[in-house]
Each structure stands twice: as C-alpha cells, then as structure tokens.
Amino acid sequence: MAKTAMDCVKLARDAKRPHFRDFIDLICSDFEELHGDRLVNDDRALVGGFAVIRAGDKPSEKDVRALVLGHNKGATVEENMSANFGMANPDGYRKAMRLAKLAEKFRLPVVTFVDTPGAYPGREAEERGQAEAIAKSLEFFSRLRTPIVVVVTGEGGSGGALAIAVGDRILMMENAVYSVISPEGCAGILWRDGAKAPEAAEALKITAGDLLRLGAVDEVVKEPAGGAQRNHRAAANAVRKAILAALGDLAKVPVDELVERRYAKIRSYGNFY
C-alpha cells in the first residue's frame, strides 16, 4: 500500500521512533557531551559532544572520531518537557557553532542528526535573537573547514532544522519529512483549514523521495519494514553505514576543495542551471 505524505509525517513524529540519544547509544561509543553557548544558557533541545562512530561491534580502524550534534526529542513527556520537544532556542544554535569550531580546529568531521518541529517560538527566543542565530549558523556551517554529514532522522522543521543541516552530504531516512512549513501550518494559511494538512503535505513534497528528486537531499537511508520504530538497531545500522560511507568519501577531499564543493552544492538549490 503506497504511503502518503501524511503517513510519513506520522511516522516521523512517532514517539517510539529512534531519537538522537538512541542513535548515539546504538551507533557511537565514548560519547562525551559538552554544554553551553558560553553566553547565557545551555539549551537542552540541541545536544552536542564528541563521540566515536563505530563501524561495528568491536573497535576497528574504520571507527571515526567526530563531533555529533542533534535535536533532542525525548521518548516520554517528561523528557520532552525538559528538552523542549527538540525545539531549540538561539542558545542551542550558538552551542552548535561553538562546538563545531572545535571540530574544525582539531580536524574532526561533524555529523548532525536533524529532528525538530522547528525553532522554538518563544519570547526569550526572540529577545536573544532567534533569527540571527539561525542566520549565523547558516553562514557559519557553509564555510566550516571540516566535513559535515547531515542526517534528517525525523522531522526537518524548517529554519530550525536547516540551521544544523548545511553540509557536504545530506542523508534522509526513508520515513522522515523535511519542510519549509508544517503541513498543518500550510493548510491553515493556504487552505484556511488545518484539517487539510494531508493535502498540504502532498502539495509541499516533503518526503525523502520528493527531496531526493528535488535535489535537496543526496541519499535516502532505508528503514526496517514498517518504520524505524519497529527495529531501532536495524534502523541505526543503516544510518551508521551511510554516515561512514559519506565520511570516507569526504575525508579524501582537500579542505579548500571541500568548501568550494559545498558552496557549489548550496548554490545550485533551485536548479537555475
């Protein structure tokens, strides 16, 4: 039975879907989380730290040390409330940039896990420059002198997602979604009826297959039958494999060329050539 766009949205938002911390547990070892933007706050909604991305169960030379960054959605309501449902404040984006600068300094790649309903629409968020933080992140990651691999694992919620989704290789899980606006938001505005979210979801072309066709992502990572929530381990293994393959390719590219290629890639979105 063919999946609709709204089916994917439901899978992407499923509480039992693997989230950032699950991927870290299943893919990495030695994860050391680092906190703070060094300005005002530690954003629990966007987590980062150094980790070893493991090629297999036993340590091997194929393992890669990396900085990992990700939106932090919890599995329970309590977890979600402390992590703000994965909706980052400016502090989260500034932490991401701070840590990525360390990765650049020590020549480690950056791997980001994107799963957010969007940047947090709050008062302090505005006062602390939510727009500026996202803009700065886009500018910053476009020029970062180390490889960046992005995995959209769940919801790619607009600018709040994009801020950590600028990279050299963009992977997207099969049932993830990635959109400029939520289907509900779009339906409310263009159909004047939030209940038309399924129609909006189809029109917006937000599935992994759509994004691959549109050139917005480079690769779709297949999930276990029925979705990643059915088998976290298998889902994570597929993601691990894709990340390591991408990192292997990118490690061979001299850094000046890496940044030029990244620019060419970002430059071509919209296909005017």
Partner: protein
Amino acid sequence: MSWFEAKSEKAKIPPAKALWAVCPRCKSHFGKAVWKNNNAICPKCGYHGRLSARERIAQVADEGTFAEVFRAVSYSDHLEFHDASGAYRDKVEATIAKSGETESVVMGTARIGGHDVMLGVMDFAFMGGSLGTGTGERIARACEQAIAERRPLVLFSASGGARMHEGILSLMQMAKTSAAIARLKESGLPYISVLTDPTTGGVSASYAMLGDINVTEPRTLIGFAGRRVIENTIHQKLPDDFQSAEYLEKHGFIDRIVERGDLKAFIAKMLWFWGF
C-alpha cells in the same frame, strides 16, 4: 435580533479604501495624499510604512544610476504546486502581470552618495516579499557580481518569510543566500542590511540578519516567529513593542535605527568610513 448584530456590523465597515490610509501601528486615519506626501511615514506615531521597491530605489540611489540586473531570473515551480485557490504558477504570473516586477527583490548596480554598490530592494507587494528560488538566485548572483566588481552589497529586506509554494527549495534559499554572503564577506567587501517593515521568518533568519551592520527604520516589525504563534505557545501576552526596531535595538540586534530620509546619507557615510 438584528439590533445585536448592528453594532458589530458597524465596527466591521472599513473606511473607503480610495480616500484613507490607516497607520497599521497607531490606527490613525489620514488622507491618502497626506500619507504619500509624508513618504509613507505616519505623521502621528512615526511608523515607517511600506514603499515599493522602485520608490525606495528612487530615494536611495543617486539619480539615474540604478541599472537593473537579473530581471529574467524569476520563479520556478518544481513542485507544480496547487492549493485551495489554484495553481502557484497562475498566482505568480498574475502578480508579475499586475506589478510589473518579476520577483520579490529588485536587483541592480547603483551609486549611493557617490559610492558604487550592488543594490537589492525587496517589494512586499510581490507575494508578501516572500523568498522563492528566484529571489535567492538574484541575491546569490548579486553577491557573485559584487565580488567580481569589488562592490559593496546593500540589501533592503521586506518579507513575510519563505515562499511556501516552492516548498523545500524556498527553505534552501536561506542557506544559499547566507552562503553567498559569507563568501562576499570573506572577500573583504561590506554588506549593509537594511531591515524594513516587516522583516520576518526565513528572511530575517538568513540574509537580513547577516549584515556587517543591520540597520532599520523607526517602529519596523522584525522577528522570527509570528506574535500570535508565540502567544499561543507561551500563553502569555507580549509587550506592545515586542519585535519592534526599538525592542531589537534594546536587546542588541540592531546597529542603528535611521529615519527614512537619512538612510541614503548614513549608508554612504558608513561606506566612506570603511574605504569603499
């Protein structure tokens, strides 16, 4: 019960559109001629209202120096987008026919107070100043031409955000424009961002907030999320001056608030300071 309804009916009747301008901030009414003669600035509260791109260019660029570029760069419809009101393609073609513009940003070479620049001005009347692939392409090309010709970049933003109808490709224009600006800055060229009313959503969260200096006019609306969305999320009322130019300046995100009539001279002076 018609007399119950009569009161609310009366409140709903707007002033005759042909005669009156209403200030969106203080809600005072003025004759349209008064509004226009005051350069779309509210005589009562000083709110700086909207100008078309061409009106703005006429005020900022030295006379006769603006030469439009990239006019053939326009929208794309890779999604073949349709919504309740029909096809995106039809909607944007109608906008093009009606407005005479071919995208939400008008780009060109110009001189400002004698300084050669790339000048881009957004037009809110063109689909709410929304950021589409054509908008992003014009801005990226402007950065590339600026680098090639050693011109500073001056962008006037006015936008409700990313253009939904072009989907993820609109979102990607945030990255594209920010990356192009990053390259321009790395080449040592200035980028002056002027945020005009309103500058919101995906535009504030990309090129508009990346100026070497971020400049605005009095009482401009600048923000990321919409006020109502925020109020519904946090279940609190927000201060009246929330997301105003003055509010942003207080919180550290605006370099300078400049009166409309002083913008040209201010831009020229900054370029002079920096050796351009």
